[in-house]
Structure formats: C-alpha cells, structure tokens
C-alpha cells in the first residue's frame, strides 16, 4: 500500500528554510551565550578559583557582596558617572545632530569629523586622552597654563579623575549623533511648514515639533546609554585601572578584578548577576516611563 504524499504548504516550506538559516545562530547563542550564562548563575552560588572544582557556598557570595562596602562604592562610582555623563551625552549628541542637520556647505565633511571619535575603539581613545590629560605635558594643562591657570593632576588626583571620563564620554557623542541625525531627517517637513504658517519661531519649532518627534530616538539612546554605562570598562582599565585610591573603580572593573586578578569567579559571577538585575530593572522602568514621554506618530493614546 503506497503512502500518501503530504503536500507541504508554501508557508511551512518558507518557515523550514527560515529555521534552517537561523539554526547556526541559535546553536551559537546556546553554546556561547546561554549555557555560559546558566553556568555563571550556578557559579554565583559557589567558591570557584578556576583551577579546583567549584564548592557550593549557597548565598554567601551575595551576602558578602551586600555587606562589604566595596561593591557599593564601585556601584556608586558607576551611578555617579552615569548621572553626569548620560544626560550630557544625550543632550550634546542631539545638539550636535541638530547643528549638523542644517543645510550649509561642507556639511558631509563636518558630519564625518564629528562621527570619527565614535569609530575609534575605547582603548585607543583612552590612550589618546591619557596624553591629553598629562599634568606636565598634556594639551589641557598646556592651554590652562597659557591662560595663566594652574591645571590639576587630572589622572592622579582623586578629586578630578572621574571628570576625565566625562570628557571622554562627551567626546564620543558622535555615535548617538548619527542616530539623532537620521531621526531629524525623518521628521516630515509638513510639520515645520504648518508650524511656520502658525507663526512659530525656530526655537518654538525645536521645542514643539522637533523634540516630541525625536522622543523615540531619545528613548533608544537612553536605553543604550544606560546599558553602556553599566558596561563601562575599557577606558578606566587603560587610563587608571580603578585608581588612584579606588576613585575610578567602576563596577565592571571591580568585577574584573575579582574574576581575573583574585580568581574569585564565584563572587564575580554573583556581581555579574546583580549587575544584570540592576540593568534589567532600570530598563524596565525606562520602558514603563516611556508611556509618559515618548511620542510615536502612529500611536493613538486612549
């Protein structure tokens, strides 16, 4: 008795091809991301020095994390940096994009120039700024000296070190600028024409047309900035290694120190999961708050 051949609908055939194409990625994700994450979750409850087998210690890594001041110190350094750098980066990126959206000659050149810093790796940027911040030979103190002012020991005096990283973060705002620029260019000109007919000045157009239209982009950059802030690592690692006197001990540096210097992989995993929870919580809160201030053109508010 011959078996009846089933006719496969086209949609299912497409789906099969789709699955076939994404499978390598899924395997990669499972092997190199998901399983290590699960393993690190397990390690967070162990004492593991990377040589000997992990020893189960229950919640003691978390207890140590919350009771020792060091974690809170590094978290505070990261948050303090974020409070200063995030708004500064968002605003400077937007203003730069706004300026570079104007129709003046040579604009492509300026866009390229301002975007360049975002193309350079964090390590190279840090090396470059290390020279700029040098208290004896750096350009910043040279300018200050020329103006008759005494420049501080930027990278060596704990009072100033965090501000050095603010310079760096604002200097790299070109990355956000490109996203803002694409957002600015997608605002319908009809809105500006209508506002102009209604007698709006350029500033009023900026406040009442541009900014509301740009809120989805602000939202995107805010989320990315938040995540980036808690992942801040390469620049302090190159410039200060957390010093002097732990004044730039960002959370990720602290985590790195425990994982790779002290080989406390269990404690480092606990730190990593706590960081994950913080980022998740803040992202969810930002998403929740977006209902209040992010405007989508196609969205109809009830």
């Amino acid at each position: 008795m011959s078996k009846e051949r089933r006719i496969i609908p086209q949609s299912e055939r497409y789906a099969r091809w789709g699955y076939a194409f994404i499978t390598p990625w899924v395997i990669g994700f499972l092997v190199f991301t998901f399983l290590p994450m699960v393993f690190s979750m397990y390690l967070a409850f162990t004492d593991y020095d990377t040589i000997n087998p992990p020893k189960w210690v229950g919640f003691s890594n978390f207890a140590k994390m919350f009771t020792k001041g060091e974690m809170w110190h590094s978290l505070w350094i990261t948050v303090k940096f974020g409070i200063l750098s995030l708004p500064l980066g968002l605003v400077s990126g937007f203003l730069l994009a706004y300026l570079l959206n104007m129709k003046i000659p040579g604009m492509k050149f300026w866009r390229t120039i301002f975007y360049l810093p975002a193309m350079i790796s964090g390590v190279v940027v840090a090396m470059l700024w290390r020279g700029m911040f040098d208290d004896q030979y750096g350009m910043i103190n040279f300018i200050l000296r020329t103006a008759g002012l005494r420049g501080p020991q930027w990278l060596l005096d704990p009072k100033y070190t965090l501000y050095c990283f603010l310079f760096l973060s604002v200097w790299g705002c070109g990355g956000g600028m490109v996203v803002y620029l694409s957002g600015l260019q997608s605002i319908p000109t009809a809105l500006y024409e209508a506002a102009e007919i209604d007698g709006c000045s350029k500033f009023q157009q900026l406040i009442h047309v541009t900014v509301p239209q740009m809120t989805p982009i602000f939202f995107f950059n805010l989320i990315m900035g938040l995540i980036g802030m808690f992942q801040y690592f390469a620049e302090p690692m190159v410039l200060t290694k957390g010093g002097p006197a732990d004044s730039t001990m960002f959370y990720n540096l602290y985590l790195y120190k425990h994982a790779f210097q002290f080989r406390n992989m269990g404690y480092a995993s606990a730190l990593a999961w706590f960081l994950f929870m913080i980022v998740l919580l803040l992202t969810l809160l930002t998403f929740k708050s977006s209902e209040l201030w992010v405007f989508y053109e196609s969205e109809v508010k009830k």
């Binding site: 299912e12 789906a15 099969r16 699955y19 076939a20 499978t23 390598p24 899924v26 395997i27 004492d47 020095d49 990377t50 040589i51 020893k55 140590k64 020792k68 290390r130 020279g131 911040f133 040098d134 208290d135 004896q136 030979y137 750096g138 005494r150 020991q153 990278l155 060596l156 005096d157 704990p158 410039l239 200060t240 290694k241 010093g243 002097p244 006197a245 732990d246 004044s247 120190k257 790779f260 210097q261 002290f262 080989r263």
Partner: protein, 483 residues
C-alpha cells in the same frame, strides 16, 4: 512545524558534533599517523615548560629557549625518551592561560622563570622537589642559602621546597651622577652598612635635588610642590609595597613585612611598626617633599613614558637590578651609578626578586619533569639561562664571572654593590606568600595609594582600616580551607 524544527535542530547538532569530532580526530589522526610513520619502540614523554610568568618572552630570549630545546631533544631527551617543548605566552595572559590549562587537564609540567610572586599566587599548584633533591643528592650549598630558602614554604605545618634559584635581582640605589653633580652633592656610598648612611641623610640630599619650575629646591620656603620638575628620591615606585614595609622591624628585631602572625591567621597591620610605615611614607611625600605624589606606573606625568630614572628628572631611584634592560638608554642620556641602600632605624634591607623554575603538581610526568629540571640546573645550561634573563646567578661559583662581564661592559659602574646586596636581602621576601595573596596585595596598594594621593585622615586610621580588611580576607581564607 515543531517536528520539522526538532529534526532540523537535530541534524545541525549532529553536523556540529561531527565537525568537532573530525577536527579533533584530525589532530590526533595526524599525530598518530606521524607516530606510526616514525614509530619509536618506546613513545617519548613530552615535557612542556611554560614561559610567561616573568622574563623570558622577548624574541631574543625565545631564540635561546629554542636553541636549548633542540639541544635537549638531540642529547639527553633522545637518551631518556623525553621531548622538551617551551611554551611561551605573553606575561599579561600567563595566569589565565595557566589556570585554563590546569583546569582542562593539560597542565604544563614546568613553569618558569617565575618570581616569588608568581609562585605565591599559585602556591597549591607546585610540587615539593625536596624528595627529588634528596634522592639525587643535589648539593644545595652551590647556591646562596637565603635564595634557596626563599622558595621554601611552611603552610599549615607542612614544609615544601618548590624551586631552586636561577637568578636574583637585588635592589640598590641607582642614581643620576649629573643631577648629583649639579647639586654639588657627594654620591651615595658603595659600601653597605656604613654608620652614617641613613634615610635622613638620603632625604637631606634628595631635598637639594628636588626642584620646582621656578628653580627652588625643597628646602626653600617658597618651594612650589605642585609644580615640581625634578625629584630627589623615588623609592617606593615600581616596587611592591612590601619592599618598603620590609625596612621596618619590631622590638625583637623581626621584620614586620608580612603584617600578620606566624600562623597567618591574625593581621597585625595596625601595629606601631606599621603605623610608622605609613608615617614615614607621609613624611617622605609631604614633609620632606622628595617623592612624587603619584605612582609613575599609575599614569603619565613627570617621568613621562620612561622609567623614573630614565626620565632624567630624578636624582635617586631605589629599585631592582632587573632594570638592566634600561641601562643602554640611561647610558645615552646621563651618567649613572649604583650605591648602597641607607639604614632605616639601624636596619639595612635590600628587597630582592628571585627567579626560579617550578614543577607543577598536576604534571602527568613528574619524574621526567625532574629530569628536565636537573638539566636546566646543570652548569652549562644554568649559565646560558642566566645570561638570557640578565639576573645575578644564584649559583655562587658563577658570580665572579658575572661581575667580570659587567665590568667589561660598563667599567665605571659599581657592580660590586649589587653582589654585596645579597647579604642584606629581605627576609621574609617582599613577594612571599600570605593567604588571600592577591587580595591582601590589593588592600595594601589601596592603603599606600591613599597616603600618596592625600585621601586619608591619619596614618593610624589607614593602618586600622587596612588591618580590618586584611583580617576579613584571612578569616575568609581559613574558613574556606576548613570547609
């Protein structure tokens, strides 16, 4: 649809497994085919020496290792059925690479050259070589006794000797003769332990060599310590902090360098001696004003990218003789020489770095590793290795030859100062093991950095805070050991 997905996933997983299996097969296949092709009667045992924990990673040094590898494989190796291989990894990756290899069951058999710090960081991983030494009647009197003992550890009542010394690097005063001449000062003495050569005397000299951008020295009431262009003395830079602490002794004449009780269970870093450690550092920076208010290693500033003395903006640098790599650039820029370290409260101490080779406990072939080890420490090979690493030979009979070679190359330098430093070597060593090694080290760095950067209330408070932190680490360490 679910079925299709499952089937596809299964196929891909099988494919991935086949690929992995074929890759690994390819390796073993090729090695087995080569083994079959050349099939010796008895399979050779491969002994791997991992280089990267210290010196030994420069291309010229790697070339010497390759030459030695060939020499061994063509002679002793052939005779004993051992194949030697040097595995060189960058210094920055050495610890990670080592732990990964051990965890994966692919441990190297020997590691080195490695300093006492490298040994201490993985103290549980090294084999006690004392039984082998006894079995083969190795004469330890060939080496300076203190250097041999620096690799002996007594932990939890168990004593083990993990390595023999290959070379050592004492610290001494490396000074810029041009700066001394400009200040019209007498050079530091060549002789160790002279009665009037104290840190007070050194600071007196250093104050005259410390200049601000207006040309005033540190004795001048108008001296501007925020705009210093030349410092007189930089002693604690580029050195472990314990090298500084090792200059201080308790009332029984015992060094307080470790900062904990003999059983390593109680921190003593708030003792009067440790408070003095911090007070003296405070004095050096803020009262005498002769030392930079930052670690050059921490970034940039006055000394630029050069080493502190190499910047030509420093009078005296108390540092280790492994700075020999910089001698050529010093020669090109200024006249320099070597002097004896002064006394602190009547004690003269030369912090010393010592290189050794260690056999790993996880080696699958410890007996063969010992054969290689013995060969490394045979006269001819030992001498070659010493030349390769630039240390002073710990083997006594080679020291005179070392001195002659140095004198031939730079006749004006007081090389004898470095040889004589051996009698003043620090004990315990500035890098020696303590529980929770890296964390204790980090806490000490933090405490000292607090003083240097001015982020502290009083030396007493710094000592108290450090003691609390270190006690926490010790308690944690011993609790983990007892579990």
């Amino acid at each position: 649809m679910k079925k299709t997905l499952t089937v596809l996933l299964a196929i891909l997983l099988c494919f991935a497994m086949v690929m992995i299996a074929s890759c690994s097969k390819g390796d073993s296949g090729s090695s087995s085919s080569s083994t079959t092709a050349k099939a010796p009667a008895k399979e050779k045992v491969k002994i791997q020496i991992m280089v990267g924990f210290g010196t030994g990673t420069d291309p010229s040094q790697i070339a010497v290792h390759e030459e030695l590898q060939k020499q061994f494989n063509d002679t002793v190796g052939k005779e004993k059925g051992i194949e030697l291989e040097f595995l060189t990894v960058p210094y920055a990756d050495a610890s990670t690479k080592f732990t990964t290899l051990v965890a994966a069951g692919m441990s190297p058999d020997i590691c080195g050259p490695v300093g006492i710090m490298g040994v201490a960081q993985f103290i549980d991983q090294w084999l006690d070589i004392e039984p082998y030494i006894k079995k083969d009647n190795i004469d330890l009197s060939d080496y300076d006794d203190a250097l041999v003992e620096s690799n002996r550890y007594n932990i939890n009542g168990e004593s083990k000797l993990v390595g023999l010394p290959i070379g050592y690097y004492p610290s001494a005063l490396f000074y810029n003769e041009d700066i001394y001449d400009r200040a019209g000062l007498e050079y530091p003495p060549e002789e160790w332990g002279t009665a009037d050569w104290t840190y007070d005397k050194l600071y007196e000299q250093a104050r005259l060599m410390t200049l601000d951008m207006w040309g005033s020295d540190a004795n001048d009431p108008d001296f501007d310590m925020d705009n210093v262009v030349q410092y007189g003395y930089d002693g604690t830079d580029w050195s472990p902090w314990r090298a500084w602490v090792g200059k201080f002794f308790d009332e029984n004449g015992k060094s307080v360098a470790l900062g904990m009780s003999d059983d390593y269970k109680t921190a003593t870093m708030n003792s009067p001696e440790w408070i003095k450690v911090f007070s003296e550092l405070e004095r050096m920076i803020y009262k005498e004003k002769v030392r930079p208010r930052s670690d050059a290693a921490a970034g940039a500033s006055l000394f630029g990218d050069a080493d502190p003395l190499g910047s030509n903006r420093l009078g005296v640098w108390e540092t280790f003789s492994w700075m020999s790599y910089a001698f050529e650039s010093w020669d090109a820029n200024f006249s320099w020489n070597i002097g004896a370290i002064p006394a602190m409260d009547g004690h003269v101490v030369s912090a010393t770095n010592i290189d050794t080779f260690v056999i790993t406990k996880s080696s699958k072939h410890p007996d063969e590793a010992w054969e290689v080890y013995k060969w490394l420490f045979s006269d001819e090979v030992y001498s070659k290795l010493n030349h390769n690493y630039g240390g002073i030979p710990a083997m006594k009979e080679l020291q005179a030859q070392w001195l002659d070679e140095q004198k031939a190359e730079r006749p004006n330098i007081n090389w004898q100062v470095l040889l004589d430093a051996g009698a003043y070597a620090d004990n315990p060593n500035n890098e020696s093991w303590v529980p929770g090694y890296s964390q204790v080290w980090d806490e000490m760095e933090f405490a000292m950095a607090s003083i240097i950067s001015g982020l502290y209330d009083t030396p007493e408070q710094v000592a108290e805070d450090l003691n609390d932190e270190v006690q926490y680490i010790l308690d944690e360490y011993w609790a983990a050991q007892n579990n």
